[in-house]
């Protein structure tokens, strides 16, 4: 068994990735909740939730982690709430419904290419480890199908609740889903037409070989972005919930852990939508929005960007680590200033001492992390020389396993970084715009977005035909 693991590292990696990647992506969720709460607070000129803490006895520090502890307190509160089931609901479907959006959200992540396919030598022939967990020819269509299934959980939950307010929320969600699914599909079609394939890996590779989707399809990008807001039931399209109109919307009758599951699914869909937007329109795991030069290599359909990345791995890893380290050091510097402010303002000496200790810990952690990353940057630039390691077999460049692993890690981080930009955009827009009225949403979806998407598709088709 152990010998087999050592002999087939790529096969083992292929088996582990479907477990590891959802777990890693799930860790973005508490971060997203934190960004939502503190981002909302900062936009509205207030401090936001920052008071829950965990006391660490050894250090004597009240660890508040910038409000991160609220995630834990929320989870504990919701898990230990009474699991009340209203007597009038259809029990089976009612209990089953909250799980559906979570499952579809996680399945959507399985179709995203998280890193470039790695070629490796398996015995006599070449084999490829894909960055996607499910590699289907239908690609993005399957992703849309999973996304569309997510609303089934909402409708089923609202229907099984046997309450008119829930049902109204569920019907609104499903009607909006149907309306915006149309313009979503049509807007992304322009991109797929240029690529000539439905596979997401091919979409990303095309962007590596040409340029990012947002450059060639700006209108398609905007339409797709707006449709994604509607798909995720996020403001300004959050009519599925409406306190003033339909009590709480589709989750009126849900409480405790069932409600938490619905909320988890909402944020999971935000993450999935962000990753999809980054994949289709922001180059996915590609580093730069232009094809990079490569000496003595002229194969027409090849992932030049990834090859360039593998050839210059030390410099790229060094630059990324240096950027991350500078960011952490900057944050530590920010905390130094914050600590000084608290020293000036805090009410009494006990508080001052506590806060000084707490912020001292944060500053130490972030400064050490930043310095460590800077050291790692210097080390990777000096030690990682990969340009000579590639061997060309059957017109494919094969790199050693560790180069592939580091590349995959870097590309995963690039994709997550781009997705976090969109996550912030989701939060930012939510706290900027007022919500649309329901009929305005329908008018916008059917009378405006659908037409623009169709015209965009037509123009793209003509141009694609002329260019080819």
């Amino acid at each position: 068994m152990f010998d087999w693991i050592l002999a087939n590292p790529y096969a083992v990696a292929g088996l582990l990735l479907p477990i590891v990647i959802p777990l890693v992506v799930f860790q973005i969720l508490p971060l997203l909740v934190l960004i939502e709460r503190r981002g909302a607070a900062f936009i509205q000129d207030r401090a936001g939730p920052n008071r829950a803490y965990i006391y660490i006895p050894v250090l004597g520090v009240k660890l508040r982690a910038f409000g991160m502890i609220y995630n834990a307190t929320d989870a504990v509160k919701l898990l230990f709430k009474e699991n009340f089931i209203p007597p009038f609901v259809h029990k089976g479907w009612y209990l089953f419904a909250p799980g559906i959006p979570v499952i579809t959200g996680l399945l959507g992540l399985a179709l995203i290419p998280w890193f470039a396919p790695m070629s490796y030598v398996a015995g006599e022939s070449l084999a490829v480890l894909s960055g996607q967990m499910i590699e289907a020819n239908s690609g993005i269509l399957l992703l849309f199908a999973f996304g569309g299934l997510g609303v089934y959980g909402i409708v089923l939950g609202s229907w099984a609740s046997n309450s008119k307010y829930s049902l109204l929320g569920g019907m609104r969600a499903s009607a909006m889903m149907i309306s915006y699914e149309v313009s979503m599909g049509l807007s992304v079609m322009g991109m797929l037409m240029l690529v000539g394939s439905l596979g997401l890996t091919q979409v990303v590779e095309w962007q590596g070989a040409h340029t990012w989707g947002i450059v060639v399809q700006p209108i398609g990008f905007l339409l797709f972005l707006v449709s994604m807001f509607a798909e995720c039931n996020r403001n300004p399209f959050d009519v599925a919930e409406g306190e003033s109109e339909i009590v709480a919307g589709f989750h009126t009758e849900f409480n405790g852990v069932k409600f938490m599951t619905f909320m988890t699914a909402e944020y999971l869909h935000v993450i999935a939508a962000s990753v999809l937007l980054a994949t289709v329109y922001l180059g996915g795991y590609q580093l730069l929005p232009l094809p990079l030069p490569l000496d003595g290599f002229d194969a027409p359909w090849v992932d030049l960007n990834t090859l360039w990345l593998k050839n210059h791995l030390g410099i790229i890893a060094g630059l990324m680590l240096a950027g991350g380290g500078a960011g952490l050091l900057g944050f530590a510097y920010l905390l130094v200033g914050r600590r000084r402010t608290y020293q000036a303002n805090d009410a009494n000496a006990v508080l001052k001492a506590e806060r000084s200790k707490e912020y001292g810990l944060y500053i130490a952690v972030f400064a050490l992390g930043g310095l460590g990353m800077l050291a790692g940057a210097v080390a990777s630039v000096m030690l990682m020389h990969t340009a000579a390691l590639g061997q060309t077999i059957n017109n494919t460049v094969i790199f050693p396993g560790w180069v592939n692993a580091v590349t995959a890690f870097i590309q995963f981080n690039i994709l997550i970084g781009k997705a976090m930009l969109f996550c912030w955009l989701f939060v930012w827009v939510r706290w900027t715009l007022p919500r649309f009225r329901y009929d305005q949403i329908m008018a916008l979806g059917w009378k405006v977005m659908l037409n623009i998407a169709l015209v965009n598709l037509l123009v793209t088709a003509v141009i694609a035909k002329l260019v080819r």
């Binding site: 920010l334 706290w431 715009l433």
Partner: protein
């Protein structure tokens, strides 16, 4: 005649939403980055950062002290009579000094009944009760703890009060205490 307010007509750029959306995003981004980087919010970190209340703010009461540390109160019941909420409960007893007739054996204020009107301060003939502690926050776990007694009322330090407040500085620990105690012992108790 009713005043007709014309419905505002949206211009072309306002009608396609996107320009206005980006303007709004720029506004909120300005606020977000200012608050993230500078960190000086218009709001206050309330229980950690307390507001500076002025001395004439009617806060929790205190009992003033003579230079020898006894309360200035002579248990005349003026304050409890003036109190519209009837929250002051005084039990008088005979003083052990020959020049002072009475003193409070018990002086309780029920903070849950108190309406913080300041009438007790106005009524007091001896400047014995004041509401200048700036203790605006009163917290307790049960109702009984909101009834504060003589010990709590006299638990204050002259150092926390300004030097111009001569009555407070005459109490034990104050800057004028030595002279005041000498005067007090020689019979000049005011």
């Amino acid at each position: 005649m009713a005043k007709v307010i014309p419905r505002p007509q949206l211009s072309f750029w306002e009608n396609i939403y996107f320009v206005e959306i980006f303007k709004g995003l720029a506004t909120t981004w300005g606020h977000a980055q200012k608050n993230l980087i500078k960190g000086d919010f218009p709001t206050r970190n309330y229980p950690d950062e307390l507001p500076a209340l002025p001395r004439d703010y009617r806060a929790r009461h205190r009992l003033m002290k003579r230079p020898d540390g006894t309360p200035r109160c002579v248990a005349c019941f003026m304050c409890s009579t003036a109190c519209p909420a009837r929250c002051i409960n005084i039990v008088a007893e005979e003083s052990d000094r020959l020049d002072i007739e009475k003193r409070p054996a018990k002086f309780e204020i029920d903070l849950l009944l108190c309406v913080f009107c300041g009438f007790c301060v106005e009524a007091c003939p001896c400047d014995a009760i004041r509401m200048d502690t700036t203790l605006g926050v009163m917290v307790a776990d049960n109702r009984a703890d909101f009834v504060i007694n003589k010990t709590t009322l006299m638990d204050w330090a002259p150092a926390d009060y300004p030097a111009t407040d001569t009555q407070s500085q005459k109490a034990p620990g104050g800057s004028l205490h030595a002279q005041a105690l000498a005067d007090f012992n020689s019979g000049n108790r005011h």
